[in-house]
């Protein structure tokens, strides 16, 4: 049964120390900023975080890393021009990094939600990132065995939810949302709008409500003030 939380703070209240948390988003697109801010405020620590990146600039996941609340990150692309908080934590030996090719990261998350015990993929075969992993030759091609990534919680951002938790997304902000929703035991979603059940066309629902536990409405950011408005 879906819980509609009154605030981001209430939505993340159950996240405990040592939890594994999937966080949606690719760069800032689809990153559930307000849920991450609430996670920062709730104090949970020793987290294992799964995200494509390791935070940008001074917001969201980057701040969680800055405050040393993340003991391990599983991601594909930590090093960016504005990933200074990750860079500092990594160089200080204060965060563990598991680097995963992006498609393997997505498929490992998908596998968890789909009840798959792992899979053989050609991606990464013969590279440093396959060292120590089981391999197999199938029809003359090399494959690497990859395991599912299960999680306690997922924090994702969608455009709209209805009151049964069915979700629709917006453009490339969809990215990891649907697969993370399915892979976590408890999925928490921030949306711009909650509509009545029946208010979403079943043909366009992307994530069925069965995967969603908690939603919270977060007003979308006001568009940046135009020069004209600033002058006023």
């Amino acid at each position: 049964m879906l819980t509609i939380a009154n605030s981001a703070q209430d939505a993340v209240a159950e996240i405990h120390d040592g939890a594994t948390v999937l966080i949606g988003g690719f760069g800032n697109a689809g990153q559930p900023m307000e849920l991450i801010d609430a996670l920062l405020a709730c104090g949970a620590t020793d987290l294992t975080v799964v995200n494509n990146n390791a935070g940008q600039a001074d917001a969201g996941l980057a701040l969680l890393i800055k405050e040393r609340r993340v003991k391990k990150i599983i991601c594909s692309f930590p090093r960016q021009s504005d990933s200074w908080h990750f860079d500092a934590a990594y160089r200080a030996g204060e965060i563990e990094l598991e680097l995963v090719p992006q498609g393997n990261l997505a498929e490992r998350i998908r596998a968890a939600g789909a009840g798959i015990g792992g899979f053989f993929t050609p991606t990464g075969y013969g590279t440093m990132l396959a060292e120590g992993k089981e391999t197999r030759t199938i029809d003359g091609r090399g494959y690497v065995y990859e395991t599912p990534i299960h999680a306690d919680f997922a924090l994702i951002k969608a455009l709209k939810s209805d009151k049964t938790g069915n979700l629709v997304y917006r453009k490339t902000a969809r990215n990891f949302g649907p697969i993370m929703a399915a892979a976590a035991k408890h999925t928490i979603v921030q949306v711009s709008e909650i509509v009545e059940t029946g208010g979403l066309d079943p043909e366009v629902v992307v994530t069925p409500g069965i995967y969603v536990d908690t939603v919270v409405k977060i007003e979308p950011h006001a568009p940046a003030a135009t020069e004209h408005e600033v002058n006023q």
Binding site: F26, R79, G103
Partner: protein, 213 residues
């Protein structure tokens, strides 16, 4: 041709070689230039691995939307016929062999088609792989675009990669400012040269070069 190619001329050449109706992923950096030379008649559909087919040009001014970005996190636009999908579908599309061509940059390519483009191997470097390994193994054809020689004159097309590899036996063509190379079962064939000759290239490269068929 009598001159070495500029980056834009090279991008133009790659664009011309992409078959009409292809589904294509252009890697970050130099390969992105290829999109400037694809024609409407070619009807090429661009894929971006963060979940979109039918990607249009970079967004300008009011078009900028933080929910619509490419794999390099640059705001882009959508074209008629575009579609969105989640990350696992996006990479399944790639891994499943549905993309016709992927164009990537490289530090090195080996004579056997191994690609090195993700990590310099420097011990103090923070590693980041992104979608590089998926792109290398995913498309039916993997084209590399790069300068043929490093600043100190070493060939980047090598017998064996010395940088950590991104994928093995995956590159099918190498487009460089001095020549186009085809990676074949027989070895490396020189399709054409620019401002140089096959003999001159061979004198500066350890890879055995075969003439075009």
């Amino acid at each position: 041709m009598s001159e070495k190619l500029t980056k834009d001329e090279l991008a133009q050449l790659v664009a011309r070689d992409i078959a009409p109706g292809s589904f294509v992923n252009l890697g970050i950096g130099q390969p992105t230039l290829v999109s400037n030379y694809l024609t409407a008649e070619q009807d090429v559909t661009l894929h971006t691995e963060n979940g979109m087919l039918g990607m249009g040009p970079e967004a300008q001014g009011d078009e900028i939307d933080e929910d619509l970005i490419n794999a390099g996190k640059i705001p882009v636009t959508e074209l008629p016929g575009a579609s969105y999908f989640h990350h696992a579908d996006s990479f399944a599309m790639m891994r499943g062999g549905h993309l016709d061509v992927c164009v990537l940059g490289a530090f090195q390519v080996s004579a056997g088609g191994d690609l090195a483009n993700w990590h310099t191997g420097a011990p103090d470097a923070i590693p980041a792989v992104g979608g590089a390994m998926d792109l290398a193994t995913g498309a039916k054809d993997v084209y590399v675009m790069m300068s043929l020689f490093t600043k100190d004159g070493k060939s980047k097309l090598v017998p064996e990669c010395t940088y950590p590899v991104t994928g093995v036996n995956c590159v099918t063509r190498v487009y460089t400012n001095e020549a186009v190379f085809l990676i074949t079962a027989d070895g490396v064939r020189v399709r054409e040269t620019f401002g140089t000759t096959m003999e001159e290239l061979q004198s500066k490269m350890d890879v055995k070069l075969l003439p075009a068929e």
